[in-house]
């Protein structure tokens, strides 16, 4: 067989899945021979192969579907996730690097501090870009359905409603950044609970908590933080309040609050030595904590009430306002 044909066939099947290669190679070879019609001169072979087009194009026809790293149907979602992740990761890394530098023992110059922050932000961004891309590439490969729900006309109706129910982008991103930083703090608290302490000159620091008593509670706190974080992500994605989103958000807030109250009133997690530093009895201390809980409860209620007002009051707009003026 002519050398050119062999190369052409090999080049074509190289781009195909291994299981198809032998079969396609045999068939293509037979077809090319048929097209030559017995004339094996180099000119005829060249002419025939030119008519068949480039091996890459032919292989694409055989594969019958285009290949993407990230398909067109997931690309918008990919961009959105990439934006959120880079923003959150970037801000969080920046804050944490700054804070950790304040605790660093040796003094540093401003220039060094800035370059350190930039470097860690850059490396955090690169790795988050890598992981988001890998995740989406895997999803595309296995054709995971990313449309959250079937689109129908209801979606359009709820859109054209009232723009006052918009959730500000900045608010949701602020939530995400705050919660991520908080989560890192929890991680630190879990690993080194003794860091939260009174530091005095010429004496060992007195930790606020008893490490072993506190640890199991922190895991629960992490879970509620992750829950609140997912609600913030949902708020960012939906961009508009609706009843179920409000219910979810309220539930997450209340759960977080209840857990905080539950945790702060476990009296055995506090270190008695720490409490003794202040001239107050245990009873006084408990009253302070309970008062703080009540204040927190009131604040949460106000924020929930504000959200509820936005959701329910403005869900049903006054019909006459919407009618065009005559």
């Amino acid at each position: 067989m002519h050398d050119l044909i062999t190369r052409y066939v090999e080049e074509t099947v190289r781009n195909l899945p291994p299981k198809d290669r032998t079969e396609v190679a045999l068939e293509l070879e037979a077809n090319i021979q048929d097209m030559l019609g017995g004339d094996t001169s180099t000119e005829k072979v060249e002419e025939t192969l030119l008519a068949l087009g480039s091996p890459a194009t032919l292989a694409r026809q055989y594969r019958s579907k285009e290949r993407y790293l990230i398909g067109p149907e997931t690309f918008d979602l990919y961009l959105m996730v990439l934006k959120i992740v880079s923003l959150v990761v970037g801000l969080v890394t920046m804050v944490i690097t700054f804070v950790s530098m304040f605790f660093a023992s040796e003094p540093t110059s401003i220039g060094l501090m800035i370059s350190k922050v930039l470097a860690s932000v850059f490396s955090a961004l690169t790795s988050s870009f890598l992981w988001v891309t890998i995740t989406f590439a895997i999803m595309s490969y296995y054709q995971v359905n990313t449309a959250l729900e079937e689109w129908d006309i209801k979606a359009l109706r709820s859109l054209e409603a009232v723009p006052t129910r918009l959730i500000k982008k900045g608010d949701s991103i602020g939530d995400m950044v705050g919660l991520s930083i908080f989560f890192v703090l929890l991680l630190v608290m879990y690993n080194r609970p003794e860091l939260i302490a009174i530091y005095r000159k010429e004496a060992a620091p007195i930790p606020l908590f008893i490490a072993d008593a506190l640890k199991p509670y922190i895991i629960g706190w992490m879970v509620t933080t992750i829950l609140t974080f997912s609600v913030a992500v949902m708020k960012y994605a939906k961009r508009i309040w609706n009843t179920s989103l409000f219910a979810l958000s309220a539930l997450a807030d209340l759960l977080g609050l209840c857990y905080f109250i539950f945790l702060s009133t476990r009296w055995k997690i506090y270190n008695p030595a720490f409490l003794n530093v202040f001239p107050a009895s245990m009873d006084r201390w408990q009253i302070i904590i309970k008062a703080a809980c009540v204040v927190l409860l009131i604040l949460t209620m106000i924020s929930l009430g504000d959200d509820a007002y936005t959701v329910f009051r403005r869900t049903r707009p006054n019909v006459s306002e919407k009618a065009p003026a005559r």
Binding site: L28, Q33, L58
Partner: protein
């Protein structure tokens, strides 16, 4: 549909290309060969290797599923054609 209609009798790639060409259906070889294979994976065609001649050739013919689909396609095509002809008939394009 054109390809399916010519596969009542079994054909190999190049012979089918010529049959279609004779009937004024111009299709490129690099379109037809992959198409045959795709139709086969979709179960519309059956294939067999004929090794009795000097060169082995892969022959394709309609499967029963292919025959059903061809019937449906033909009906849809004729309907479309009627509608389009009616549109063209309104003006004097002919």
């Amino acid at each position: 549909m054109c390809v399916l209609s010519q596969l009542e009798e079994k054909q190999y790639g190049y012979s089918l290309l010529q049959v279609l060409c004779d009937k004024h259906i111009a299709i490129e070889a690099n379109t037809l060969y992959p198409l045959l294979r795709r139709l086969e994976t979709q179960g519309l065609l059956e294939s067999s290797w004929d090794t009795t001649e000097a060169r082995p050739r892969k022959f394709y013919s309609l499967s029963s599923k292919g025959r059903t689909i061809l019937g449906e396609l033909a009906t849809a095509w004729r309907e479309q054609n009627t509608h389009i002809n009616a549109l063209l008939g309104e003006e004097s394009y002919a």
